[in-house]
Amino acid sequence: MTTQGKTINITLKVWRQKGPGVKGKLETIEAKNISTDMSFLEMLDTINEGRIVQGKEPIEFDNDCREGICGMCGAVVNGIPHGPEKAMTLCQLHMRKFKNEDIIVVEPWRARAFPIIKDLVVDRSALDKIIQSGGFVSMVAGGAPDANAIPISQNIAEKAMDAAACIGCGACVAACPNASAMLFVSAKISQLALLPQGKPEAAQRAWNMVHAMDDCGFGNCTNEKECEAACPKEISIVNIARMNREFIKAGFASHVM
């Protein structure tokens, strides 16, 4: 420990809420000597360690892999989900992106469909309900098929892979001015609708997932493009256009009703 990294002092205004349905408020917390090499979550860890020693309630936040691939973490930092950096989850955001004496407002995802559990932790099971309604392929598991038995062009495979990059963090809902989940649902519909394995159930899937999305109480998309801008995996709204096509096909040109 011979090298001394740069440190900054920041003021956090963090959303504190004891539980679901109770009134919350922003609490101002001074954080001194924060290493700029820390990630945003490590900064919260450091604050929490101090708070635990002082006998204060730590700030609750969701996290898991801390590699930007699991979709567990996320908070709205100064009004932008996962913070100001493009294509980055909160765990990958580093404190070097902030300046000394910065005031940082940290809020949970806010949507009727994502009730707050505590502080920055929200219940995202609405997204699971949408997946359960059709975000899969049903198949009889037999012997593994031969590789390349079903030809898929590289272009289509890439598009499906881009949609499948969605980690289901919910930032699109948090970023949407209408708290709509259409970017998430469209990514899940697209990754399967593009591939031959997903085609047989495409109509039923689009129909079920869109209805499940509406039942969960998400808002309606008005093409604001905020989701795409905030998405840590840069999922494109082209997927939403594809979902619209899939849904209208299901509504008017399929047996599904």
Binding site: K13, W15, L26, V76, N78, G79, I80, P81, V105, E107, R110, A111, R112, A113, A175, P177, N178, A179, S180, M182, V210, H211, M213, D214, G217, F218, G219, N220, C221, T222, N223, E224, K225, E226, C227, E228, A229, A230, I237, V238, I240, A241, R242, M243, N244, R245, F247, I248, G251, F252, M257
Partner: protein, 215 residues
């Protein structure tokens, strides 16, 4: 028949209703602008255009009924969407910042919509529900209205609002209808901006131009 309600009643179904009715309004605006261009050629050209238009008789009435139905669909769906979207986020953010997608036009769609609706009502009162006689032709009515500075300002502002609404609405309707393609979307976006400028300038200059040629 439930499948129709279950299709149009969803979030995507409502988007579709907005997009389809919006597309029709853009078509109407193009037609309306095409007719109004005759105003730039003076009193007689415009009056003759109006005469020819009304000579279509039943076709005009049918167009009016269609536009009224589309208006009801667009406005009612818009109101439902507005309140559903408000309810989808009961607790607002303390800090608000755009991540980079939202524009002035997209953020103000419901409000510019309300302004356009009130303008349309005023516009119909000014020019549609007025008795036209050979002594008081449609051109006379238009030039008398625009001679009043108040109306002139209202009409110009209204056309800026329409341009703003169309600038988001045009590309947005293609996205909603599923027509977002890397080859075409950049063209569609540009056409939308050009179209909103054409509407803004084409209609917006009339309140200034007409009083000039009337005197």
């Amino acid at each position: 028949m439930n499948w129709i309600i279950n299709t149009f009643g969803t979030s995507i179904g409502k988007k579709f209703l907005m997009a389809l009715s919006g597309a029709c309004f853009i078509g109407f605006l193009l037609g309306h602008l095409g007719g109004n261009i005759t105003l730039y050629f003076g009193k007689d050209t415009f009056n003759s255009y109006a005469e020819h238009l009304h000579a279509l008789g039943i076709l005009v009435t049918m167009a009016e009924i269609s536009l009224l139905s589309l208006l009801v669909i667009h406005v009612l769906t818009g109101i439902i969407l507005f309140f559903q979207n408000l309810a989808a986020r009961p607790q607002r953010y303390v800090a608000n910042k755009r991540a980079g997608g939202r524009t002035w036009a997209s953020a103000t769609m419901p409000y510019t919509g309300v302004l356009i609706l009130s303008f349309v009502l005023l516009h119909l009162i000014n020019f549609h529900f007025v008795k036209k006689t050979p002594d008081n032709t449609i051109f006379d009515i238009v030039s008398k209205t625009f001679a009043q500075p108040g109306y002139m300002v209202i009409y110009i502002i209204a056309m800026i609002v329409v341009a703003l609404h169309v600038s988001h609405g045009f590309w947005s309707l293609f996205q909603t209808l599923g027509a977002n393609h890397p080859k075409y979307m950049p063209i569609i976006t540009k056409v939308g901006i050009v179209l909103s400028l054409v509407f803004g300038i084409g209609f917006g200059l009339l309140p200034i131009y007409v009083p000039l040629i009337a005197s």
